[in-house]
């Protein structure tokens, strides 16, 4: 992708014509120069502080670039919606660090490694979408071995705290439908 020429990046996810890509904040200027020279259009992201969203704990605002039908949403830390309305925060620094430490190649592009993708998909399902989409369920079950890995366990604890074990239990039992409400009702802490 010409947009990410000479820039380090990690793809977090791609859906239809939108890809979410993690870049480093100090490479943003290069990104914008690449965008201009390669004919990408840059627009205001729909999730921004101008539209009443609060970016907490140092989370950088997002950028979005269009070329043809495709859009590239660029984030500078892996974000997560909070249960507090219109509030976003970065996922824990151990997850941010892991995202940069390791990547996997898919069709020549750098993606975050699968344990980071796992926690990202789960976080989106719980905090942003409040449901586990069929696509996310399929991916999570297809990669369920990750749920038992120590490195994932550490990351999940930083997002879900005391609920972590119950979350993993429910996922392994494919009990996706009730996870969001179960999480809200959780009081064992």
């Amino acid at each position: 992708m010409k947009l990410f020429k000479e820039i380090d990046y990690r793809i977090l996810g791609c859906k239809k014509e939108l890809c979410t890509v993690l870049c480093r904040a100090d490479e943003r200027k290069t990104l914008i120069i690449n965008a201009e020279s390669a004919g990408y259009r840059r627009k205001d992201h729909p999730i921004s502080s101008d539209r009443s969203y609060t970016f907490g704990y140092g989370l950088e605002q997002f950028d979005i670039f269009y070329i043809g039908k495709n859009a590239y949403e660029v984030v500078y830390q892996i974000p997560c919606f909070s249960l507090t309305e219109y509030y976003l925060i970065p996922l824990d620094k151990c997850i941010q660090k892991r995202a940069w430490e390791k990547y996997i190649l898919r069709e020549g592009e750098k993606w975050v490694c699968e344990d980071v993708e796992m926690i990202y998909r789960i976080a989106i399902s719980v905090f942003e979408e409040n449901i586990f989409s069929p696509e996310n369920r399929e991916w999570i079950i297809g990669h369920k071995a990750i749920l038992k890995e120590e490195i994932f366990d550490g990351m999940a604890k930083k997002v879900f705290f005391g609920y972590k074990d119950r979350l993993i239990e429910r996922i392994l039992a494919k009990d996706f439908d009730d996870i969001y409400l179960d999480y809200l009702k959780y009081t064992d802490y």
Binding site: G56, Y57, C80, F81, S82, L83, T84, Y87, I89, P90, L91, D92, K93, A123, V126, F127, K158, V159, F160, F161, G162, Y163, K164, Y183, L184, Y186, T187, D188, Y189
Partner: protein
Amino acid sequence: MSNPGVIKLARDQIGRHQVWFDDNIGESIHFHIDEWRIDFSIREFLSFCEEVEDMVYELIGHPEIKPENWEARFIHQISPCLGHLKEIRKEKIRLGSITVVDDSNMLVKLKDGTLVRALEGVIDINETVFRKSNYFGENNEIRMKNCMEFVKSHGYPYKDGYITVAEKNNQILDGWHRASCLYHLFGDKEIEVKRFCFDDEISFSTFSFPAYRVNKDQKIVLYGAGYVGRQFFEQISSTGACKIVAWADQNHEHIKEINGIHIINPQAITDFEFDYIVIANADHRTKHEISDYLLMMGVPQEKIII
């Protein structure tokens, strides 16, 4: 890094201090006072709440004010006035006589308020500013629907839960949702309410123009160009509740004009043709002094709205 599973439970300002409670799911309940934080487990927090509730009701010391009768939110809202509470009495009033402070901050009849209009489909309740602080995951519409289901299945009053009104204007203090549901279901029915009677005529609607007393074709003189008068002017201007033919203030020589409107000497009020004079002042005694002055000028009592 912060827990994304954070729900704000409550927030307030006590003196100069910001105080708030957050539920950090899976972690702990955080109680913040400015930069200080105390962490509670769920069990500790619930126990703390029970103790505080016991203390609050003991401090209030009124045999009728019990946690099972009113929402804690209501008690919190009227707590500054509880020292002036003379009496709580049960009465029968018509639903149509109840007044509410609506979205435009004016005091209007229940039937003209946000909730009845939403039940009638005139407005979208989720588009209003009403009730910004619902329970988590509950928007205005869900709250309204839950209330309607409750009223239909349990009737009114349920146990000792009465709609509560102030002594003046039948202004609702607690139970706007229930009153609106009852009005929507039964119209101008007579119901039993509890009336809170305070000494010194404490007013809960000082900054709300009494729109329920006028209609848009009527002419009023606004008396008072201070903070309350300016609030009333804005509310009237934004809603067209009535027509302001003159705006008077004893301090007219100093104020001169507001928003291009000339502030007149109260002595000149009788030069105008009007339906009512609305006194806009926060102080109870001052309002009655102005009323006495207007009566001396020959303004009929029924044309003076305090």
